[in-house]
């Protein structure tokens, strides 16, 4: 009997029931202009220079940010060094109480901070509101509880502060990265000079008002804004006992070189090109959700993003069709709309970089798929993108794109998956999807990554240490392990 031709089966994700615009209405309370936060108050930069901060959602100007020069950075370090004399001797429980206050105040003003974060960085309000801000508050709450318990962390040795810590953070999770840096530093008795990224300084500057409300002694935390030169000044200042950097691998290497011979401690949290490995016995729909979360959460601006999907050959086709189907209900657009899933790209520069790498992927022969998206006319946007038939030699399989672009490769056996996953100079994170427990543990043992997510992805918790292997950096943030990177053992 001749085979019947089955009609193409399709699900219609159309406009029968369109969601109306649902803009967030809470106010962000952003000042027209911000000074530098040094020694407990805002001061003008010595140069009197400011630079504009624009919103990537519509390219509108949000505020003017002070440009800190070397003398401003020096003033910040002097304030921090002065404050350290008292802060390092403040009893742990008292330090704890300041950090608890900060956590609670951030919880009180959570909505305001979420809107500011979305306006400044472009991430969906849903994410700032439900992830970034609550998680930042949780980091302060968690580390507050360590401040009076340090003697339990390193039995046999005494955990003592280092001094003044210089910290430089990136633009992808501005407030959260600030929390990851400041909370453990203060809990262990250090004082801080911190520079937020130049495209996302606003929530850090608003955070200064929380420090004032909490009554934190002046000089314990100093916030200086600027770009590469300001960052250099922070890294190279002689009063820094330690530098903590999260950002690109290239800059991380430059910092490591700059610190040679200075005796300064260093921790680096750099880039990644994580493999998300899906076996045929995985719960498929949840794996697809995990893949989607892994690469489109925060527009892919995540160092530990699951940017390489390694799918077992036998299920490559169904996984690809499920991914394409899932993209149809993913909403890309104005980050201030509560129904947006994928927001704006952080800057023009980043958008250009993504476009260049995607073009490279196409020219190198990978197969591209992008859903039809109604993108806003102004602002920086890029549709979620899948590349299939990717091989390890493609640029899009090796270079960190830092955007909503997934490269799909296949494998046949667990051994091959491990080889391909580890075939990178990065080593930040990895994902494993399988129904078999022993395989999860085997993969976790073999994968050269600082974080392994099994049957889940992009999960973070203040109690869980985060950091990478190889060129993804060294040092850990979170957990009892993270405290040691802010301390000396005597």
């Amino acid at each position: 009997m001749p085979a019947k031709r089955t009609p193409a089966r399709e699900l219609l994700f159309g406009n029968l029931w369109e969601y109306d615009p649902a803009p967030e209405t809470a106010k962000a309370h952003i000042d027209e202009r911000y000074g530098l936060f040094i020694d407990g108050k805002f001061v003008a930069p010595k140069s009197k220079k400011y630079f504009d901060s624009i919103s990537p959602r519509d390219e509108q100007k949000l505020s003017e940010i002070a440009l800190a020069g070397p003398s401003d950075v020096d003033a910040a370090y002097q304030a921090a060094a002065g404050a350290f004399k008292t802060w390092s001797k403040t009893p742990g429980l008292e330090r704890a109480k300041y950090l608890f206050r900060i956590a609670r105040l951030l919880q009180d003003r959570a909505r305001e901070f979420a809107v500011a974060e979305t306006l400044d960085g472009g991430k969906p309000i849903k994410e700032s509101r439900d992830f970034d801000v609550p998680m930042a508050a949780a980091h302060f709450f968690y580390h507050a509880g360590w401040a009076d318990k340090l003697e339990y962390v390193t039995p046999g040795r005494t955990l003592a502060p280092l001094g003044v810590v210089g910290q430089v953070i990136p633009w992808n999770f501005p407030l959260l990265m600030l929390a990851w840096k400041i909370a453990p530093a203060l809990a262990t008795g250090n004082t801080v000079v911190i520079k937020p990224a130049e495209t996302t300084s606003i929530t850090a500057l608003k955070f200064a008002s929380i420090l004032q409300e909490a009554g934190l002694p002046p000089g314990v935390v100093n916030i200086v804004t600027g770009a590469g030169e300001t960052g250099s000044a922070i890294v190279n200042h002689p009063l820094a006992a330690k530098i903590s950097f999260t950002g690109s691998t290239a800059v991380g290497k430059a910092i490591q070189r700059a610190l040679a011979g200075t005796g300064k401690r260093l921790t680096l949290e750099l880039g990644g090109k994580a493999a998300n490995i899906v076996f045929e016995d995985a719960p498929l729909d949840q794996a697809v959700e995990g893949i989607i979360n892994g690469i489109f959460f925060n527009q892919g601006h995540v160092c530990c993003a699951g940017s390489r999907l390694l799918v077992q050959e036998s299920i490559a086709a169904p996984i690809l069709s499920k991914l394409k189907l899932r993209l149809k209900s993913l909403r890309t657009g104005d980050p201030l709309d509560k129904n947006t899933d994928v927001g704006a790209i952080n800057s023009k520069a980043q958008l250009t970089r993504i476009q260049d790498l995607v073009a490279a992927g196409v020219s190198e022969g990978a197969e591209i798929h992008q859903p039809v998206c109604d993108l806003p006319p102004k602002g920086f946007y890029f549709p979620p993108t899948l590349f299939s038939n990717v091989s390890q030699s493609h640029r899009i399989a090796r270079e960190e794109i830092f955007g909503p672009v997934l490269s799909i490769l296949t494998f046949r056996t667990p051994e091959e998956a491990i080889e391909k996953a580890n075939n990178t100079h990065y080593g930040l994170s990895a994902g494993v999807w399988t129904d078999k427990g022993s395989r999860i543990l085997k993969m976790s043992t073999e994968l050269k990554a600082g974080v392994v997510w099994a049957n889940t992805f992009n999960k973070f918790d203040p109690t869980s240490p985060f950091g990478g292997f190889k060129e993804s950096g060294f040092g850990r943030e979170g957990g009892k392990q993270g405290l040691l990177d802010y301390a000396q053992l005597i």
């Binding site: 704890a96 608890f100 609670r104 509880g145 339990y152 022993s438 543990l441």
Partner: protein, 288 residues
């Protein structure tokens, strides 16, 4: 002419509500400076039994809360006590002593609550372990709360002594049924009100007032109490240990005849939490 005040009827915080004893009995509490203050519920073993039922109902939910949530609730208890510290100071003064001593007791109590609020999401990382067994197995040890813990507080330090015994138990997800100081019960009455307003689910902490000799035998033998922490005399300890044997309770006993410096940091910390924990070890093969 000065205004006539409304006197408060002290009730016990049990199951999230405020109760009189099922027996209807009370005992009078007089101020140390003289004069009647209020009638305090004289709880019976049936009240103790009911409190254990309430704790049993609240237990699974409290243990299932994540550690961060429990920490925030404990911190809120500190917020409540701090806001009403003047009232609590007066409550302690009912039993004598100086204002400075009473204030010190309240302040150290607040600090102790904050201390335990910060433990909920940390003790696991220090007491649990991943064990490097010789076979190809992933082997890990985690801690678990025991269940319902019975608490018999000291007669002195009516606030700090009581808190020091039950805070480490509830930090890890246990529920507690407590007997407050008989001679100085009023701080426990007020503490119940603060617990009720700190987002703590009803039944996690249950505070009874009454006579030690009436209740200690039931604390000892009630099989659903999985552990006890008590400050007790030699005779009382014998009663507790003998009665506990039938249900194989875990006991933490302190001698009431020896002076305890509740203010010392020796009476707070990781090992107080460990007293009310079970340890569970799981094995799983590692292989493709």
């Amino acid at each position: 002419m000065s205004r006539l005040t409304i006197t408060k009827t002290p009730k016990c915080y049990v199951g999230g509500a405020f109760i009189r004893s099922e027996s209807g009995r009370v005992y009078p509490l007089n101020r140390s400076s003289g004069g009647f203050f209020a009638n305090i519920p004289l709880c019976t073993r049936k009240d103790l039994r009911n409190a254990v039922e309430a704790a049993a109902k609240a237990g699974p939910g409290w243990a299932a809360r994540n550690a961060y949530n429990r920490g925030q609730i404990l911190y809120r208890l500190a917020e409540m006590l701090e806001a009403r510290s003047a009232e609590m100071t007066d409550a302690i003064l009912l039993g004598g002593g100086t204002r400075a001593q009473a204030e010190r007791e309240v302040n150290v109590s607040i600090e102790r609550i904050v201390h335990y609020a910060g433990w909920t999401d940390k003790y696991q990382a220090l007491l649990g372990s991943v064990n490097p067994v010789a076979s190809a197995h992933f082997n890990f040890t985690v801690t678990e709360p025991m269940g319902i813990i019975g608490i018999v507080a000291a007669e002195d330090a009516p606030l700090l002594g009581l808190l020091s015994l039950f805070l480490p138990a509830i930090t890890s997800g246990n529920t507690v049924v407590c007997l407050a100081s008989t001679s100085r019960p009023y701080p426990a009455i007020l503490l119940g009100e603060m617990l009720a307003t700190s987002d703590l689910p009803g039944g996690v902490v249950n505070l009874l007032t009454g006579q030690r000799d009436e209740l200690i035998p039931t604390f000892a033998t009630h099989a659903h109490l999985r552990g006890l922490a008590a400050v007790a005399s030699l005779e009382e300890r014998k009663t507790l240990q003998t009665g506990a044997a039938e249900s194989v309770k875990r006991l933490k006993l302190m001698d009431s005849e020896k002076a305890t410096d509740w203010y010392s940091e020796k009476h707070q910390g990781l090992y107080e939490i460990r007293d009310h924990l079970e340890l569970k070890t799981t094995w799983h093969p590692i292989g493709a």
